[in-house]
Symmetry: C2
Subunit: 310 residues, 2 copies
């Protein structure tokens, strides 16, 4: 029996898993992400954790196929990161450093791309070779998978679906400096922005509070039949559908998998996306499958492991 | 020495080529596309032409690696076309029929995708593994190539870049039924549309004629320094750049290759695209290479041949 490690580095914790080569998670744990001092302890901490887990389990290094790692930043094909604000890293040769520390081969990928790979392997996109995962979190990330491979792109910007322009008249600025990015409407932050604008101009009764409203509040109110919340969700769905329509005429996947914090609202989300999608879509790809991500926090671990097994 | 045939089926003529396996075109000819009677003579005519050329050259069927064919329609992975308005075809098993007629293995692809493959192999995208070709003709077509493979998509709609939405407020309808598709601004027809609108509202002197203006007229006038024409070209460039910005955050290719009839205007075209592209692009892919297609009408023949050699 062979094994591999899947590692998902986040800004607060590093999620780690030991898997067998069928993708079964045998063990799962977290360590703290030490972002101080330009995050220089992060890789040594991961290496130490891997080596001690290997020992604890009575495994030899030869039993370990490799270590897959998802990083919240663009990653080159050589496993180099040119800066990650969340981790404090500037230039970092992640693959080389980690291999030197562990003596085990490593594969490094962008976290959103890695999560997409996990969902294709074991989650909402299971059985498909062509899928797009949209991660609706603080921002909007994504992974475009064609023939089972993630599109990373020449500048590591493949699958940066949060920055598809869905409104050429938006006056407000996206974090990236542009205007009208999908992220401005479909992320948790974007939904709050839509909600606040709506609530300011609203005189009808609603369960939502003008001063303090979250994406979760909006979808909870939708479930309770709150008309104002429903209209906010419709606006969110219109913009997200516009982004997906553009994705569909480029990548034409078999399925869209919706993940990230916002997707925890559940099935209630899907009609808000599906209806405007079908209205706007190019005629040859109107019939699309939309599904929710199913792996939750394990998507990163699974996808990272999948990279080393490929 | 082994050989292959590259076939590019258009609505008026079928362009055919005999190539060696290095991609050298040894012979090149055309036959008429007989679109009458649901285009039932098209494949038999192609087969006859291939068999007689093989005989004429003193080749054996065993010397022929295969026949690659580009078709103006979406094509499934099995080489089936579900209708092509330009050829009169309804459902047609192109691969099976052609193989039965010739006794030679065939590979069938969408013509825009096939041309992109040709430009990657021998033209403007030569040496790159990731490129996007945009064909600015009567419509706007394209081919998205990732790791040397064209993205065909689950519904044959991969690389339908003419239907990226670049204006969510467009009142006029695209041929596809949607509003604001790239094709409405960046095709030869789209440029004429922009020009007519501009000229209607224009009191300045210009070399362009209100009643009869072509895309070529516009770029000829640009070359002569005509200010009205320059502003039409700027509008065209703004919309095309918006489409490319969306392509770049999804596919992130190394190079954009601009082809099709409009690209015959030459290098004068590129600054009109590059300047707004750099203004609008996502920060990590602002530095892009734009280049003109170089194979002209041979792109289809070359790309079709490349399919059978892959």
């Amino acid at each position: 029996m062979k094994y591999c490690y899947g590692v998902d580095i986040g800004g607060t914790t590093v999620k780690m898993g030991l898997l067998d080569t069928t993708g079964e998670i045998l063990d799962k744990w977290e360590i703290i992400t030490k972002t101080e001092d330009e995050g220089q302890a992060i890789l040594p901490d991961i290496a130490e954790s891997i080596l001690s887990k290997t020992k604890e389990r009575g495994l030899n290094k030869e039993d370990i196929v490799g270590v897959g790692v998802g990083v919240p930043a663009p990653v080159t094909e050589d496993g180099i990161v040119n800066g990650s604000a969340n981790l404090g890293w500037t230039y970092k040769e992640v693959k080389r450093e980690l291999e030197e520390l562990t003596g085990i081969p490593s594969v490094i990928g962008n976290d959103a791309n890695v999560a997409a790979l996990g969902e294709m392997w074991k989650g909402g996109g299971s059985g498909e070779k062509n899928m797009v995962m949209i991660t609706l979190g603080t921002g909007v990330g994504g992974g475009v998978i064609i023939n089972e491979k993630v599109i990373t792109g020449e500048h590591g910007a493949g699958g940066e679906v949060g920055h598809i322009c869905v409104n050429y008249n938006e006056p407000d600025t996206c974090g990236c400096g542009n205007h009208g990015c999908l992220e401005q409407y479909a992320s948790a932050t974007g939904i709050v922005r839509l909600a606040k604008k709506k609530l300011q101009a609203e005189s009808r009764e609603t369960a939502l509070h003008r001063e303090s409203v979250s994406a979760k509040d909006v979808f909870d109110a939708v479930k309770a039949g709150d008309q104002v919340a429903i209209e906010i969700a419709e606006e969110f769905g219109q913009y997200l559908a516009s982004g997906l329509v553009n994705l569909a005429v480029i990548a034409d996947p078999a399925v869209f998998v919706i993940g990230g914090g916002v997707s925890k609202a559940g099935e209630v989300l899907l009609p808000f996306i599906q209806k405007p999608y079908q209205e706007k879509a190019f005629f040859s790809n109107k019939e699309f499958r939309f599904t929710l991500a199913t792996l939750g926090n394990d998507a990163g671990i699974c996808g990272a492991a999948k990279m080393v097994l490929d």
